[in-house]
């Protein structure tokens, strides 16, 4: 059994790599442009990696990292630009083609079958056979060898669903190597890992590099860039800002490259101090089972409180906990002085909390229902008599808010799936306003909405706040956080690490807190107000 074909890059390839001229690129993406309806996702991006290096790819959310990698993997096709792999121009029309060419992408959601064993997953579609039957013994043995070569101790016959997230990631990496991948892209591999597991993963990445595997490492955590990467490429708004050796930049430089942009968008004036009155929401030391711990803050009437933080920092989890979609295990929440640790969204809605979710299409709207039915959905219980909906009242309700939200051009019987993104978001807003909410939680209020409509939504949010509603706004778009917030809470790794006043916010200050750069001096800062 010892003469089985070795699935890892051979020794020869590794040693050859040492002599190869350092300037030779294994992969070049030249002048890549990709537009989606209304958005220029990538604008003339050039991206190169050398054989056997770890190249970090960083940028804010929406900078274009994922789009670029999807083009590399064949999941998307570029509108223009060239892809050159090992000196030859290629064109992938399907992920399978990229895979065959030695490119593997490990996504945040794993591509594994939880009810099959590690070995079965790694060899899915390529099961070794002996005669008509699958050669189980060989499959297990090769898997064991593969894992051992990675320095990973997982039994090949364990069900993947029983493994921890970190172990599943290791299985994904093993699978990539078994496919003979010599370029591995990891998309936010550490987002769901504990500090300890992160160290393990970084070790593993170093070992891959020693083997001559090229790793493209997408991350939000700048500290990891400096721990693991040889070079780093920064993307911003669909353009390459810089590609440089990690030794030549500081973390502050990177933050600056990631955020350094001009404001090109008008935000409504912020609340005056006298408009911000009673406390609506008071949160004290709440924790949840999954991520959140020791979170305390307040939201007042008339105020927009921004919540900033990187993906995975716990922003959305916080919103879900406040809305009763997830249970807070410790601490207290009060709404207008009354206990408000809700056990279900239904309870939260009845008590006057509205949640405008990040994913309008999946969680915010019933796409196949009319505008009117969508608006009336959460407030229905209050508007019925012996179980029947009062149609006239429903109509007038919708008409009222349509006027406020400038939705007059829209027929209230139209199915919302046919509306523009901006109008859809207005329907969501109308829906929650109709519940007479006291607190509105916005998760990415303007994601995927074009610039013109954005200003409209911002205007509306401010107007809603001025009517005495407390607003908690989660956003990854720093200009939005800065332009809209009367106060900003910055989250990092499941808790609020910093509270910044609305007056002199800077992107750099927020990013420093959000990347944990000044976490040392701020873990509880600003919470006790």
């Amino acid at each position: 059994m010892d003469n089985l074909q070795h699935p890892l890059p051979s020794e020869a390839a590794v040693s050859l790599q040492g002599q190869a001229p350092i300037s030779s690129y294994i992969l070049e993406m030249r002048n890549i442009t990709k537009a989606f309806p209304g958005v220029l996702a990538l604008n003339n991006v050039t991206f190169e990696c050398r054989r056997g290096e770890v190249l970090a790819l960083v940028g804010e959310n929406g900078a274009g990292k994922s789009t670029l990698m999807k083009i590399l993997s064949g999941a998307y096709q570029a509108d223009s630009g060239r892809l050159i792999l090992r000196g030859q121009e290629v064109n992938f029309e399907h992920p399978r083609e990229a895979q065959l060419a030695g490119i593997s992408i490990i996504y945040q959601e794993f591509n594994l079958l939880p009810d099959r064993t590690v070995a079965q997953n790694i060899f899915l579609g390529r099961e070794p056979r002996r005669g008509p039957l699958v050669d189980q013994a060989r499959m297990v043995q090769e898997t064991a060898r593969l894992l051992e070569n990675l320095g990973v101790r997982i039994n090949p016959q364990t069900m993947v669903g029983m493994l921890s997230v970190a172990q599943q990631q290791e299985v994904e990496i093993a699978k990539a190597l078994s496919l003979d991948a010599d370029i591995i892209v990891m998309d936010e591999p550490t987002a769901a890992l504990s500090t300890y597991e992160v160290d393990n993963l970084l070790d593993l990445v170093r070992r891959l590099r020693e083997r001559g595997v090229t790793v493209i490492y997408i991350t939000h955590r700048l500290e990891e860039v400096f721990k693991i990467a040889d070079r780093v490429t920064v993307l911003k708004d669909g353009e390459t800002v810089i590609t440089t050796g990690c030794a030549d930049v500081t973390r502050d430089d990177l933050v600056h490259y990631m955020v350094g942009r001009e404001f090109s968008h008008y935000f409504p004036p912020k609340a005056r101090q006298e408009d911000i009155t009673d406390v609506v929401l008071k949160v004290e030391n709440i924790s949840t089972n999954n991520l959140l711990h020791d979170i305390s803050f307040e939201v007042r009437r008339g105020e927009i409180v921004g919540v900033a933080g990187l993906e995975g920092s716990g922003r959305t989890e916080l919103a879900r906990a406040l809305f009763g979609a997830e249970r807070a295990t410790h601490g207290s929440i009060t709404l207008n002085g009354k206990p408000a640790r809700f056990r279900s969204p239904r309870q939260a809605i009845k008590s006057g909390v509205g949640f405008i979710t990040e994913d309008r299409k999946k969680e915010g709207l019933v796409l196949m229902l009319s505008v009117r039915n969508n608006v009336a959905l959460p407030s229905l219980p209050a508007r019925q008599r012996i179980g029947f909906i009062r149609m006239a009242e429903e109509r007038s309700l919708v008409a009222n808010y349509a006027e406020l939200l400038d939705l007059r051009s829209v027929n209230d019987r139209q199915e919302v799936q046919f509306l523009s993104g901006g109008n859809q978001q207005k329907v969501v807003l109308a829906k929650w306003l109709a519940t007479q909410a006291k607190l509105l939680i916005f998760d990415e209020p303007t994601r995927g909405i074009d610039v013109g409509a954005k200003a409209g939504i911002h205007q509306l949010m401010r107007e809603i706040a001025s009517r005495g509603v407390g607003i908690l706004m989660i956003s990854s778009e720093l200009p939005e956080v800065i332009g809209m917030s009367d106060r900003v809470l910055v989250m990092h790794q499941g808790t609020i690490v910093k509270e910044l006043p609305g007056a002199d916010l800077t992107e750099a200050a927020i990013m420093r807190a959000a990347t944990g750069t000044d976490a040392t001096n701020g873990s509880q800062q600003g919470v006790s107000r």
Partner: protein, 325 residues
């Protein structure tokens, strides 16, 4: 590295949870044994050898069709037409033979080919026309049922004594039918466990897209699974005809739902990707014991349905709860 070992949660070790993970049928047989013990204690006459043989004999028809159903459910599909396939194939076999010994072999071959053909059509409708499997096989069921009842309204044809060995002969105390079922189950197990096709059935049921991107020919696998469901129905029909000595257009009625129930009670979720043939056999035995117990206790037929339905729901709820932990 050593770091990984210390953190390996259930990684390589053979913890209890891992064991249950590896032997998914454990729960099914737990329920089965519990049921057996309860029946032995509380139901007079249950443990008589003759009665136990009856239970086994009774489980053959359902067992054979449920084994076929297992393949499609593992692939996250299902087949609602197997019941009427059994009626149709049964009538066809009975008529073809019409008491002639010389026609037995040709009739058996035709029966099996019919099963394969109907399964193939189901598979093609689902994969090539992209019709949801529930609708595709429901449509197939209605078509076959209408066609069958338009021509036949009562028993049709009969089979000679030589064909009865399948339904009545025993080897020692064990009926031939039971051996047939076990042989078919063993073959199915072999296919699922040891062939590429079997692995891919689990693959497309677990996640069709992941499988497709791993190079699995998902359409072919789906069609293959449906062919096996048709084949299972055909074998079941042959046994049933032997047992009844003839066939009628209603003999397979209800078996489509019973077979789905057996597979699900056997631990395979309708969402596919998880389960096993031995689980299905366990599920079949559970349903057969239930049936037998109801008959021994002379429970009213309608009440039987009520209780059977309730028990199926309870068992599956129990698996669900266990899985969530």
């Amino acid at each position: 590295m050593s770091a990984t070992t210390t953190n390996a949660r259930q990684g390589g070790k053979l913890s209890a949870g891992n064991l249950i993970g590896r032997i998914p049928t454990l729960g099914v047989y737990g329920v089965l044994i519990l049921m057996f013990i309860l029946a032995s204690i509380f139901v007079p006459g249950f443990t008589k050898p003759q009665n136990l043989t009856n239970v086994l004999q009774h489980s053959v028809v359902l067992g054979l069709v449920a084994i076929g159903q297992t393949f499609v459910i593992l692939a996250a599909s299902l087949d609602l037409s197997v019941g009427v396939m059994i009626s149709l194939i049964g009538v066809a076999t009975s008529l073809l033979i019409s008491g002639r010994v010389s026609m037995i072999l040709p009739a058996v071959i035709v029966a099996l080919l019919l099963g394969i053909l109907l399964g193939l059509i189901n598979g093609l409708i689902i994969t090539k026309l992209r019709v949801n499997s529930f609708i595709a096989t429901l449509g197939m069921m209605l078509v076959l049922e209408g066609a069958l009842f338009s021509r036949f309204d009562n028993f049709a044809g009969r089979v000679p004594r030589q064909f009865e060995f399948l339904g009545y002969k025993t080897v020692g105390p064990v009926p031939v039918g039971v051996l047939l079922m076990l042989a078919v189950a063993a073959l199915a197990w072999l296919i699922l466990r040891f062939t590429k096709f079997g692995h891919h059935v689990y693959g497309i049921g677990g996640n069709a897209e992941v499988s497709r991107l791993s190079g699995v020919r998902t359409d072919r696998i789906m069609i293959g699974a449906h062919i096996l469901a048709g084949l299972g129905a055909a074998i079941s029909a042959l046994f049933l005809v032997s047992r009844l000595r003839t066939a009628a257009p209603w003999i397979g009625k209800g078996l489509e739902l019973d077979s789905i129930a057996a597979v699900v009670v056997g631990g395979a979720p309708l969402s596919g990707g998880r389960g096993s043939v031995w689980g299905t056999i366990g599920g079949v035995l559970i349903l057969s014991i239930l049936n037998n117990v109801f008959n021994l206790l002379a429970v009213d037929a309608f009440l039987q349905d009520v209780m059977r339905g309730a028990i199926v729901i309870l068992v599956v709820a129990f698996y669900s709860a266990r899985l969530r932990k």
